[in-house]
Every structure is written in C-alpha cells, then in structure tokens.
Subunit: 487 residues, 2 copies
C-alpha cells in the first residue's frame, strides 16, 4: 500500500477562526466551526470524522490547532457526542494568532518530532464537504503526491463564476499519482479572488479550480521550505523550539515575533512543487450567512425557513429562527437570523458586511458578540435564561453518567430546581437525591456538586443571587476534567 510508506498520515485541523461573518449564530466564544446547524454535529467534528478513514493512527493522529480563548469550548464541542474516538484528538494552542503559516509550522514540528517522515493533511475546520468515495480518492492521491515530494492542494471544480474564492490554474497531469477517480496535476498558478468578468472567464476556460484551503505535504518538507527563505526561516525555528518544549512565556515571545502570513503566500505560491487534486465533490466554505439557504427547500416564492413563523407577501428571504417566532411581511431579498438574545436583519447584498455590525456592537461593549447563549461543558451544557442585577437564571443539562465539578462560590448563593431526570446533589457533607419538582439551596461558601443519577438527561433550573455573578467566582475542589477556570 503506497500510502503507508514514509511515515504515517496526520491530520492538522485549523480551528482558531473567529467567524464574525456568521453573527449572531456565531460568537467570539462560539465561532463558525462550532456551529451544529449544518448537520448532526459541529463543522469541526465533521472535519475530523471526514479525515479519520485515511489515518492509520486514528484520532490520536489528529491535531486540532486553536487558540487559548477557544480551546476549552472547542474541546467540549469535539467531545460532546458519545463518540469515544474523538476523545483521542490532540490539541495545539497557538501562543498568539499569526495566520496559517506559523500555525501549520507548529503542527508540523510537533508531528515531525514523533514521526520524522510523517505526512500532514491540513484541513479547515469550518467548511462543508461531501464525504464519500471522491473525497477518499482525493485524499489518498494527495497523500501519494506528498510522499512524492509535492505540496498538494485540493481544487474544487467550479459550478458558478464565484468571486469569493481563490482559484488554482491546473498544469500538467501527474499520471503516476492517480488514485481511483483522482488525477493529481501540477499547479500552474494560484489566482487571487477574481472580479466578476474574470471569474466568468475562469469558468469558461475550464482549467481553473476553487482553492479549498486543504494542504497535504510531508511535515519535514514544509519546515525545510520555510527554512530555505530568510523571510520565513524564523517561523520554522520558532515552531521547532516550541515543539521541543519551551516555557509558555518563551513560546509566546517567539510566536509574537513572527510575521502574520498565510501558508499560501509563505510557501505555496513560490514553491515549484505545488500539485492539486481536482475534485468534483460538493463543497462550501460556509463563508457567509447565505449558506443558510442550503438548510431547507425554498417555498414557491423563494423563501427558505428554519424555525416557526409565516412569510407573508415575502420573496427570496431566508429566515433562521430556532428560538422564537419570526414573521416577515412585504419584504424581499432579506436574511433574518434570530437567536435567543440577538437578531440580525440584513439584505442579501450586505451579508459580506456582517463584520461591520460585529465591530459596531463590540465598540458598544455588547456581550452578544462574545458569549454564546448556550455553553458546552464536558458534563453537558448551560444556557442563560435571564440576567439582571442581583440574579441570574440558567438552565443546566447534565449528561447521564456525568457530574459537575465539586465547587463553591464566594459571592453568590444558588437554588437548584430539578425539572427532569434524577439528581444526586452533594452539599457540604450531605448527599441528597432530587427528583423533578424538588430543589436545594446552596449557600455562599458551601461546597456542592450535582451528578446525573439516572439514565435520562438531568435538567436543572439554577437561580443565582448575589451582588456579583461572574463565571469566574468559582473554586473547583474536584473536577473530573481537571479544569481550574470557569466551570
């Protein structure tokens, strides 16, 4: 089996993006790669599952690269499903964000330490891709090209003159690298996002592909290539130093000094060994709220709806409203995105400018651009129902078999009311069993924990009272996940 020669295949999933263009569905602490609306699991979990079949080492050969801020929530999402396989995933936290070239270098250095001939498949965490034989052939061919010394990308056959993507101009075929339906070729050129007429020309020409942001290569080859140029050599040096184990402060200092540069401009554009696997599978970069159109069939007026409501005298309008009732009347070409705490009403033409809204809200200090309403935890989720001076009401779900950390608060007291499932509550020295309708008072300073004592979901309404109700008022006495910060 040629794929297995020369080191294992490792997946590097880039999951540090902030996804402002998907607000209010995405938030700073709940970015696009964590969205669960495009399928049964989040986009990042889909990305990992999609690559597992080509990994000899399974999930332990998956490295998720993210940042400090997103790490906890990201790990909670990846392990949220009853899918023990994904618990083996490894995480790399970028000391600071410096675009893709340094992030990939860090992953490659880590892989190379363990598996000097290892091949990395670098994958975005927030795209949609049809998983199937075409994808598997594509990936195998790309790995084969990587082993042959190429820096291999994946090019999607364009279906429209899209101006939002970069293009790859296909060069000479690499017939020796064919795998099934996948026919790798040399890259003749990378082209930036084109204007409209240029995009029409690309489509007519037939020799241009959409750049899907996937890169497959030997880890060592990538690092060597960085070292070969004075402008990118520091990236490789920093990556090696961090992979070898320096202090967090040294890592931060090393990374901070690096240029912010993409793999495309640092390596792909200038190297003479770029290859591409053309692929005809369904693909989307989920680049704007227009992607919501794909979630349901349009009605006869072209309206797409997810959620309750009615569309009256309305055309070509998308409504995504999972929490409440939304009714457009006498409008057209709108995208209406409604969430529990924020609503965006945008014209189709303006979807690329959602970041203007996010920036303006950030300037106002609006929490709605930062915090998702529901937060995933290793043991389940919590959702804020109401927040007001002096009190906060949350809905807490604990998965069967799981328990919250043993904790106490110095500035708030809590009341827990069980509304479904069976709870085992620890309060100081007491152990209390609570059924739906029963409640417990947790005074300030008293150690407490709740465990799901049944086989169904345990749901609790928590009413917090106190002068200070920040998530950081928590002391973890014992935690099944060894966390020390916010619950």
């Amino acid at each position: 089996v040629p794929d297995r020669a020369g080191g294992r295949v490792h997946a590097v999933v880039l999951a540090g993006g902030s996804g402002q263009r998907f607000w209010p569905l995405s938030r700073e602490l709940g970015p696009k790669q964590l969205l669960g609306i495009f399928g049964t699991e989040s986009l990042v979990a889909q990305a990992i599952h999609r690559v597992l079949p080509v990994l000899d080492g399974g999930a332990s050969d998956v490295t998720v690269v993210t940042n400090e801020r997103l790490f906890d929530e990201l790990r909670n999402h990846i392990t949220a499903h009853d899918d023990a396989e994904l618990h083996g995933v490894r995480y790399l936290v970028e000391p600071v964000g410096r675009n893709t070239a340094p992030a990939i270098a860090l992953a490659c250095a880590t892989v190379a330490l363990d598996d000097p001939d290892g091949v990395v498949a670098v994958l975005p965490s927030d795209h949609l891709l049809d998983d199937g034989p075409v994808w598997r052939d594509t990936l195998h061919a790309a790995v084969k090209a990587a082993r042959a010394g190429y820096f291999c990308t994946v090019g999607i056959e364009p279906t429209r003159p899209e101006t939002g993507y970069g293009y790859i101009r296909v060069g000479a075929s690499l017939d020796g690298l064919v795998v099934g339906t996948a026919h790798p070729a040399r890259v003749r050129a990378f082209a930036e996002k084109p204007d409209g007429p240029t995009a029409v020309g690309y489509l007519a020409d037939g020799g241009y592909l959409w750049n899907a942001g996937i890169f497959v290569m030997r880890a060592s080859a990538y690092l060597e290539r960085l070292r070969a140029d004075a402008s990118t050599a520091p990236i490789a040096h920093a990556a090696f130093a961090i992979a070898a184990g320096v202090s967090a402060d040294e890592a931060r200092a090393a990374f901070s000094a690096l240029p912010s540069v993409s793999i495309d401009s640092a390596v792909m554009v200038s190297c003479d060994c770029a290859a591409v696997v053309p692929a005809t599978m369904g693909w989307s970069d989920v680049g704007s709220l227009l992607s919501l159109e794909g979630l349901a069939a349009p009605d006869k007026s072209g309206n797409v709806r997810v959620g309750r409501g009615v569309d009256i005298r309305t055309r070509n309008t998308v409504v995504h409203a999972t929490e409440r009732l939304v009714a457009p009347l006498g409008v057209e070409d709108l995208i209406i995105v409604d969430t529990a705490d924020a609503t965006l009403v945008t014209s189709r033409d303006a979807v690329q400018d959602v970041r203007l809204v996010v920036d303006a809200l950030k300037a106002l200090g609006a929490e709605e651009v930062v915090q998702p309403r529901t937060s995933l935890r290793p043991w389940g989720t919590w959702t804020t129902l109401l927040e007001a001076p002096g009190y906060k009401v949350k809905e807490i779900d604990v998965k069967p078999g799981a328990r919250v950390s043993l904790q106490r608060h110095t500035r708030r007291s809590e009341n827990w009311v069980v509304v479904s499932g069976e709870a085992l509550v620890t309060r100081g020295d007491e152990a209390l069993r609570l059924s739906p309708g029963e409640s417990v008072y947790l005074a300030t300073g008293v150690a407490h924990r709740v465990e799901n004592a049944g086989s169904e979901l345990l749901r609790i309404i928590e009413v917090q009272t106190g002068e200070y109700l920040g998530e950081d008022d928590i002391e973890r006495i014992h935690d099944d996940w060894e966390r020390h910060d916010a619950r």
Copy 2:
C-alpha cells in the same frame, strides 16, 4: 355654569378593540389600548385621565365598555398605577361584540337609568391626543352642544392628505355654543376614507376635518334616535333590557340578535342634528406600527430606534426592540418590531397588512397572537421566561403592600426563589419570611400565598413542574380581589 345643567357628564370609553394591526406589540389578550409604550401609562388609562377634568362625578362617572375576554386584563391595567382615582371606574361587558352602536346604546341605557338627563362623551381607548386647554375647551363646547340637542363630534384640523381617516365636512357655525377657543359648527356631511387625490382636495378646501371618533350627546337622545328607526330600534330595546338587569344568557341572546353596526352609520350620518367641534390639537389614532416613529428622534439616516442595537448602512428604518439586541444591515424602509417571543419584519408599505400575519399565525394555532408575555394582575405582574414539557419558569413581581390570592394547584408543584425584596409566604399552616436567595417548595395540593412584606418590589422566580401547567389549574381559597378564575 351651563355645562352642569341637564344632568351630569359621563364618559364612555370604548375598550373592546383587538388591535391586530399592532402585533407583535399587541396581542388578542393585550390589545393596543393596553400598550404602555406611548407615555407613562397605557392608552386606555390616558383616555380616562384625559376626560376626568370635565366629569363632576370623577371616575365613578367613567364607564369602560369592553368584552368578557379582555375585562380582567383591562381592569388590571387601569388599576396598575398607584392612582386610587381610577379604581372607581365602572365596567360594562358587552355580551357579544356588535360594533359601536349597540355598545354605546348599552352604556347610554345604563347612564340614563341613573341620570335621565345625563350627557355621554364617547371616547376611543386607543388614541393619542394632546391634553391641554384646547382639548378641555373642545370637550366643554361639545357638552354644551349636546345639551342643546346636538349629536356632537370632534374634528381634527388635518395636517396632511391622510387617506386612512374618515372626514367631516363643516357646515354653518353655531356661535351660541362657543367655549373659549372652541367654535362648534353643524356637520354638512360625513365622508368615508378618501383616495389620494380626494384627500388632497379636502386639505386644499380647508372645510374638512378628520373624524376623531369622539361623540358627545344626551344618552336619552341617542336611545330615542335609535328607537325612531325600525332598523335600529331593537338596539335600544336590548340595551334597556340589559341595563334593567336580565340574566347573562338573556343578555347574550338579546345582543346576539342585533345587527353589527357603527354609531356613524346607525345615527350620525342620517341624523339632522350632527355638530362638530373643530380642534387643532395633536392627535393620532395610533392606527399602525408606523406610529412607533413618533417614539424617538430619527438619526441622520432617518432611522428611529427604541432599544439596544446598531443600524449599519440602514435608512428610514424603525426598530422597536425592548427585550433583545436587534441589528439591521444594508436595509431601508423597514419596521422591525421585536418582542420576547415574536419578531415582525415589515416594509413600511405593508404595515396595513399586519393582520394578514396575525391571521396566518392564528391558523397555525400560534399562542404568540393571543397571549402577551407579561400579564398584569391586581397585585403585580407575571412574565413567562420558559415553557417546556413538564416545567415552566416565570418571573413574578408583587407590588409593595399586595399579595397573591391564597391558592392551591392539583396538578403541579412550585418552587419560589426570591431574587429581590422581602416575601411573607403562607404554606399550609406555616408563615415563612424569605429574603433574596431564599426559596420555598410548594407541593401539589398545599395552600399557599405570597405577600410583599417590604416597601420595595418583591420579585420571585417561580419554577413549576408537573404534567399539566395550564393557568386554569388554580383553586382560589381567598383573594383580595374576589377573583375565581386564572390568577
């Protein structure tokens, strides 16, 4: 004082309207006249306060005519403020809705029984009107005209060629009836809502006024006029019978048999004694969501905003969002109305069609067209925060000095957590004092009540659990307001 000759002046406030055109701010059980956004009190309370200065008998000479469905909520709104005066208001419940002529007949028959020469001032409950000297002169002049035998209306000097109102063509002056700035005149004709060019002609002519829906006349004269015509005589007969005291079933039967007819077509158009007091005061029938434009000053792009959010690349758009954050982007000429449980996004051109949305939602059985999220009670308010199978979470506010009825439920248990203020809770034989953070469990079948034991607002989070959580699962053992139905 001529006004006091010939019986007292009585106000009849028509408050049975359903106000679909204001959805989602208005609901079937929370119609436009109960909206508190146009000032510090609801429109109906404003209507009552506005007429009090001309009533010798004060609020006890105010009759609010409504229907069975709205009665409880309406009375709660009228008595919601610390305004003992309004507690004296009387209520008349129409057995069934039959438009204004029968409703006014019922009020006139009731007034005439008590005060045979009484004059009634019939007022809408859901308009905005500048309260001041012009209004008082207008009302005094109208009463004077009524005593002189006229059926007197109020006509607003038009300020634009409005096509949404009926018009009154002014006839000969009635110089003997002048009061201050108010100069009554005969009505030459009533004109239906005109088309655009006709409205422009009316405005240019100068002899046309907007019909404000206000009618002042002797109660007995109105009833006599109804009796004088075979088609309207049954209205007077039914009104007399009901006022004299028949059973509820007989009243319903008598009213059901009546034609559904307005006072305009039953009496005003055909009578030869219609008068009008022209008035130049500010007035609005608050007829559509466009009235929200008056609530704040527009920004430089013509956007009007109530509530949190940002308007990006947006023009001539109204946002009314009191609960959550709403952000329009790249849109124009929209009205966006956001409430806790429903959002309407309409073009300006379509505001008159909001009833199409309401009808469509009603056909789907959507509770959001019926129930307001917050419900007023004599003792305060409650707001539903969350409703799900098996449990419901409410925020309950109890006014200082007030208490909820002593009650019990047969199918649900409740937990109360005090989040602000001081509570005195009765539970069976116990009396418990609770401060913020403290809670109490109320088992199914146990009699309970809560009283505000402090001088601040008492706020409680109530978590209900049970298989059935309808508002009708309540047995009132004692109630300060002698209510027997929903709390």
